[in-house]
Amino acid sequence: MKLPVAAGLATAAVTVTLYPLFEGGSWFWSCVGAVLVTTLAGAAASRLGARPWVAPAVTPVAVLLYLTAVFTPEEAWLRAVPTRDSVVRLAELLGSGFDDIQRFAAPVPDQPGITLLTAAGVALIALLVDVFAVRLRRAALAGLPLLALFTVPAAVMTEPIGWPAFVVAAFGYIGLLVTDGRERLSRWGRAVVVRRSGGSARGAAPDTERLALSGKRIGVTAIALAILVPAVLPALSPDPLFGFGVGNGLGGGGGNIGIPDAIAKLGGQLRQQSNGTVLTYTSSDDVPRYLRIYSLDIFDGTKWTLAPLRGRPEDRVSEGPLPPAPGLRPGVSLKRAEMRVTMSEDIDELNFLPLPYPARQVDADGDWRADRSSLMVFSTEDEAAGLEYRVVTEEPEPTTTELRTAVTLPDSERYLQLPDGLDPRVEALARRVAADAATPYESAVELQEWFTRNGRFTYDLRASGSGAQALSRFLLRDRRGYCEQFAGAMAVMARLLGIPARVSIGYTGGTKIGDAWTVRTHDAHAWPELFFDGIGWLRFEPTPAGAGGQGTAQVPSYSLPVTPTAEPTSGASEGPSSGDEDTGQSAGPARPNPRQLDRDLDGTAIAADPGTPAAVKFGIGAAAVLALLLLPAAARLLVRRRRLRRLTRSAAGGHAAWAELRDILTDLGMAGEPSETPRALGRRIAERYAPGPQAAESLARVVTSEERLRYAPAPSASGPVPADLRRIRRDLASKTSRWRRLGAALVPMSVLLRLRAAGEGVLDVFDRLEGLRPRLWRTGLRRMELRRTGGTSPGHGTATTPERPAGSGQDRTLTGARR
């Protein structure tokens, strides 16, 4: 009878883990109702002694009644009995639920459709659990549907599942197992175990208490280990299975593909589990190009942002070519390419077009306008999702001479502005890095070189922040970060050196799949653009590429340091993943892409933090582990010293001598049963280990003293002295093997056993908590109810769906990111 209830509780417990997927809580009460209905149906079937197939047959009917009553009472007969209309309405709601789930990322709003879908799903799980656990009596198998439910939040959420939720879910399952075990035992017991004499009521049921207790203990220990071990050992995986603190569920999940935010939070994009396709494109020369969405030109000390955009009607892309690229003078050779871009249907709201820089011409449906100064193309009305457009780009291909002679604009103040309060060491660093550079271009190359090679940076998605403080930390201290930090830092350093700079947000060129290039969520990227008069804005790439960095990032050929032997050639660099080399613009073998080179040399392109070499790290780690392992030995020494001191201080020494003797024996593996009396212990040691006459005397002294102390009316006049214990220890140790002695010194069992006893004490507390019977609870609740007579009960459990809070849509910015 308890089993159906335990099954329902288990399902309800796992349902709790769905919490971060929803906004609001009404879905939960609907689900609890569904579980309740299923459980009641199951329990009733059990109570009536129905055949096993009855419950699975009846329960769906009960669930249908319940869903009808909750979601479509108006159309139903007597508000609960399904009619044709109500079924149609339910189906509609289900359909809209599916649509909503496709549309929204977690946490999803509390729409009736979604709530219905969830409640029906949970009811299904509850039914399966009931079938497995109660009807088939395979409680362990009931874990499978529960696990299926549990994987929903685990798969959808980018954040790990909060450990409290996991604990609740796990306890639900363990409760089911324990109940099943108990019921099984009691049944088995009744058939086989013969009653004890007297036939008292107590003798009727076998004592399953102890077994249930051990089951619970194993369960509690397993859960504690599952939570604590990954938390204590962060090295096991970069993300422990469970984050501490319930996740708030940011990041686009579900069917939606996130788009990078202008106020960059690229880390979220890059860390996402799912790697959805954002767009695909073909290009006339089959060369991958970075696609820029935003250009951030203001650094206010906390983040990079973009100046207000101005899209004048005459700058509509449909009106003709885009405004000319700023700073580009005639005479610089240009490379013209045409790209056809297809945006994915599933992307978040996006009012900007991902374009190569500088775009000359864009053919796209809708009212798309170009910003004059940055050449960003945006729309206030149309969205990019599903759009297909054509873009023509004319990339400058400056020669080395042109680059060397390029100067910076005197009137580009806007791109040189930096906030006050920037760490002066950053500027000093920038000057030091670019010390050998004669021209702005050489400074830029030195900077990029420093970021990618000499600076020994580590690509690490766990870094965060782009403000002045994060910048100092990134540059001066830990040197770990991802594209956001690299791009921001290089832009700031360039500005410090007097080179106009800005940060672009968009995508790398992606990967070639079939004929087209595919750009995915993980290709989201940030990079700096530096301005050189006569040439315009040029892209640089300080972020490491390859396996240990941003996968598809590539360094522009013009930004590579020039080796004296190489002829200055021009052209875009090869695509790292395209495989086929574009012979026309390829950088010669004498001037290989440094990242490529690194990648060829060894799998991990990025060197470790130079601060502490790996060997030292290993040493520190090993020392820490060693220290941890030696803790018991240290504790043993301390205890021994304290006891011996107590022994010298007081005449009889209290029980210290005995306790020490027991520990010595435990450490040496000579401990006896707890039923061994002092005298028996002395006899056993004397007989089995035959200590020397002096040690035997000492042993007898300790034993007699303890015996008198415990049981005699007056303790003996003279007790053992510390020398006695030392003698015993030395003598007995000499009778054992060397390994045993070593173990006794390094890993003393006496301390470990005490640790275990402490652990069992903790488990006992759990047992006692469990001992607070539900009855106690119920009486307490009833008393509270009585005290509250006349007050209305709080409105929990209503299945109405509240309006979506108006504020939740506020973060829909022009940039189109929805968080």
């Binding site: 004499s197 049963e673 039923s675 009396t677 303890e706 102390l709 415990r710 049981y711 009316p713 007056a714």
Partner: protein, 326 residues
Amino acid sequence: MAVTPDVTDAAARLEDLVDTAHRIRNTIESVIEGKSDVVRLTLTVLLAEGHLLIEDVPGVGKTMLAKALARSIDCPVKRVQFTPDLLPSDITGVSAYNQQTREFEFKPGPIFANIVVGDEINRASPKTQSALLECMEEHQVTVDGATYALESPFMVIATQNPIEMEGTYPLPEAQRDRFTAKIAMGYPETAAELEMLDVHGASQPLDKMEPVATTAEVAALIRAVRAVYVSQPVKRYAVDLVAATRHSPELRLGASPRATLHLVRGARAHAALAGRDYVIPDDLQDLAVPVLAHRLLPSLEAQGQRRHAEQIVGELVRRVPVPDAK
């Protein structure tokens, strides 16, 4: 702390006790060869003011032991041979009409002695067996409404054949519970048996036995035993041991509170015989099997596995932890 007002006096009495007990033991062992454990336990029961049940197959010296103990103490000893037709009045005594005084007169039965040897006690009918009940527990006899006090010290040494033997009535639980301890003689070892042939072959050694202690001496010994100190942890241990028999799934019937009492009394005597004026858990452990086992009923499963109460108690003793100093 101080239980005995005069420590030196107590020590002297203890010395006396050990001395006297040693003499009695030596005397008995001159008759019963190679059974010092049994003799020691017999003495323990005597000093603990208890009664002893000796169970074994015929011919191993049960009666000899009982007689030897009785002889070694200079006190009235009666022997009753239990037979199926024995009546309760044959034990307690009868009121007979005296023609001269024209009054009913109580003729004391064999129970009125310091040591009563009941031979083959389980051959008598339960009715007769139960006549012993009142005597053993309360040291008094009630006949026709009049109550007569028994001698002090008073000890019943009963012998019985194993209950599986032909023509026996097993002792009721209530009566078994009244015996402080049950011992089995066991067959003698080869050397002891050889020696026995030499000693017993020619003459009856019992006849040559001289008493080595008086009733008054034994009474003093018993008083000394009562003064032996039992600490709180030891009492606790005794209670734990007995409680363990009540909770063991292998036992249908656990030991009674009277068993606890007997156990602690026996432990006092055991300690005193060792010349100790305080009880240690070892005393209890040594006595647990003889004092507890005969009162217990193994469960049917345990019987099915041919496990005897002695084995079960032995295991319980190994399992119950000795109380710590706390």
